[in-house]
């Protein structure tokens, strides 16, 4: 296929009772680029991400990943097609060790099969441990690695979630508010990690963000949503210089 878009969303609609959360949203994410989704609270940004990753089934519309329609597929199927997800609430596996959090992400579906697991047991876990170690060093997770992930600080849990993302083989990652609740220094590191994903690995990145400076620094393109509809979109510098968008997103 010749399209240079990794993800195409067409006319996505989702209604919860009386409220139309998505009112026919169109969006395109260019391959290997970083696209920011901005807009006031309740604009439908997270719902849009849920509809792409399969957590919510849209009422109508299409989601096309690399030319393949993935609308209304199961979340685990969509994940296997190469869509990674950073949840707003991070969602590390709290009771599993920091190691196991990353090792679980390193496993491929063929490793997880019952037969393969019976034959090989923990061998593939041992092999994965070095890889996990390298990833944890790379993102810079501080803290005990053989202890439960719940014991990590919030910032380190975010970094652990990034290590899990780096462990997967993704075409597209969707990050829901990566900088929410983190210290400025960590924000800088997260920015570098997102650049690493998009630049070095060529992964297409979509991210929801409220910090406009972060968006201006990082994003190649911006999609602005309001009340479940597309409000504006285009290259970052253009969109962020339009007064209407600035007014909407800074809540003036």
């Amino acid at each position: 296929m010749t399209s240079d878009h990794a993800l195409i969303v067409q006319g996505l609609r989702k209604r919860f009772g009386e409220v139309e959360v998505l009112g026919g949203v169109d969006a395109r994410l260019r391959r290997g680029k970083i696209t920011a989704f901005i807009g006031p609270n309740g604009a439908g940004k997270t719902t849009l991400f849920h509809a792409v990753t399969g957590e919510l089934k849209p009422d109508s519309g299409r989601v096309v990943l690399e030319g393949r329609e993935i609308t209304r597929r199961e979340p685990w199927e969509i994940a296997r097609l190469g869509v990674g997800r950073l949840f707003q609430e991070v969602r590390v596996f709290p009771g599993l060790s920091v190691w196991d959090n990353v090792i679980a992400a390193l496993q491929r579906p063929s490793d997880r099969r019952l037969g393969a697991s019976l034959l090989r047991g923990d061998h593939s876990l041992q092999a994965a441990k070095e890889e996990a170690s390298a990833l944890l060093d790379r993102v810079g997770v501080d803290g005990r690695r053989d202890g439960p992930a719940a014991e990590l600080s919030w910032g380190n849990q975010k970094l652990l979630a990034f290590a899990r993302l780096l462990a997967g083989e993704h075409r597209l990652v969707l990050l829901d508010e990566p900088t929410a609740g983190v210290a400025p220094a960590l924000g800088v590191r997260l920015k570098e990690l997102i650049r690493l994903l998009a630049g070095e690995r060529g992964v297409t990145v979509g991210l929801i963000e409220h910090d406009m400076k972060f968006v201006a620094d990082l994003a190649d393109a911006v999609v602005v949503l309001r009340d479940g509809k597309l409000f504006d979109h285009g290259p970052t510098t253009e969109v962020l210089s339009r007064p209407a968008t600035v007014e909407l997103c800074l809540g003036l």
Binding site: T53, E55, E74, P75, W76, E77, A79, R80, G84, R85, F87, R91, V92, F93, P94, G95, L96, D100, I103, A104, A105, Q107, P109, D111, R112, R113, L114, A116, S117, L118, R120, G121, D122, S124, L125, D137, R138, V139, G140, V141, D142, G143, R144, R145, D146, R164, G168, R189, E192, L193, R195, L196, G199, E200
Partner: protein, 342 residues
């Protein structure tokens, strides 16, 4: 393009040297030898019972300890295994009258009979799991409770297949190459062989990517799915494995007592098996062992306290209840578990 800071932040300490385990093993074997010399029949009997409950607790551990799914129908998988084994071997040795009146009886050998029991229970557990997993959380638990009731009522009322409350008697004891296991110590030995055959692969599964995926599902199902883990599929497989092992436990039970009726496989039994896990703890190998050992040793020890027969059973129940409540308060992960079950 800059890359993130790569300075290693190693905080893990040098691995602690593993404590030597052989003194513990040597002590356990020595104690066992002394006990066997003291009363071979009684101790062998306890070992058979312990073996059966270890199979039940370890199999449930895969689903409940690792997968975090609370199952209230493990006794059904156990019971179906017992009935499958009993019926499949009934023509070898049982009195003819009941063979005539039953819908199906077989003439299988000992090992094929046990394998059939495991297979039938695995299929049943997989099927029940597939249905129950349409529900999540508390509803899943209630669905398994429902199947406990349904299958129990079938066992109790389908006279043509199970003789219902009359039970099946005269179940053939195993014979291996012409060697009949009449004595309890012989049966304990054969039970031990089944444990040796089944537990190592089960423990391997605990430590495999499959086990890790189950644990990920237990910890956060949405995050597990977002990682590409088909949580329903692995849960059904885990239930089938657990059902299969429980079925073998049922077959060992039926071959040991040579008489079965449905009351051995009631809700009470399911709760007892779950209690082994709650008490000992799940998600590892130590927990179910601790739970089974304590739950089976306690009544035996209480026997020596010399309570009058009339109150002994009630005192035991009160003791269990108090113990469980205290444990849930102070040690929700059980005596030796890796994770708290709820």
């Amino acid at each position: 393009m800059r890359s993130p800071p790569v300075e290693p932040r190693r905080t893990q300490r040098a691995e602690a040297p593993k404590p030597e385990t052989w003194p513990a093993w040597a002590t356990a074997i020595a104690v066992l030898a002394i006990l066997l010399a003291w009363s071979p029949t009684y101790v062998s009997h306890l070992l058979v019972v312990l073996g059966i409950y270890l199979l039940l607790a370890y199999s449930l551990n895969l689903v409940t300890g690792f997968g975090g799914l609370i199952v209230f129908c493990q006794a059904i998988f156990y019971g179906i295994g017992a009935y499958a084994y009993a019926l499949s071997r009934l023509r070898t040795g049982a009195p003819g009258a009941q063979v005539e009146e039953l819908l199906w009886t077989g003439n299988l050998g000992w090992v094929p009979g046990i394998l059939l029991a495991g297979g039938v229970s695995a299929l049943l557990a997989g099927g029940i799991g597939w249905i129950c997993l349409r529900f999540r959380g508390d509803y899943f638990i209630f669905a398994t409770l429902g199947f406990q009731m349904i299958v129990f009522v079938l066992l109790y009322n389908w006279l043509e297949l199970t003789r219902g409350p009359f039970g099946i008697y005269g179940i053939a004891r195993p014979s291996v190459l012409g060697w009949m296991a009449h004595e309890p110590w012989q049966y304990a030995l054969l039970t031990g062989l089944w444990l040796l055959a089944l537990l190592p692969p089960l423990f391997r599964l605990y430590r495999s990517p499959f086990g890790l995926s189950l644990a990920a599902m237990r910890e956060d199902e949405r995050a597990a799915k977002a990682m590409g883990i088909d949580t329903n599929a692995i849960a059904v497989r885990a239930l089938a494995v657990a059902g299969g092992v429980a079925g073998v436990a049922g077959a060992i039970y039926a071959g040991y007592v040579t008489y079965i009726d449905p009351t051995s496989f009631s809700l009470r039994e399911s709760i007892f098996i779950l209690t082994l896990l709650l008490l000992g703890g799940g998600g590892n190998v130590k927990g179910p062992l601790a739970g089974s050992a304590v739950m089976l040793a306690l009544p035996e020890l209480l026997r020596f306290v010399g309570l009058p027969d009339a109150v002994a059973a009630n005192v035991r129940e009160i003791f269990y209840g108090a113990l469980l409540a205290a444990l849930m308060y102070w040690r929700p992960q059980g005596l030796a578990g890796a994770t708290s079950i709820r």
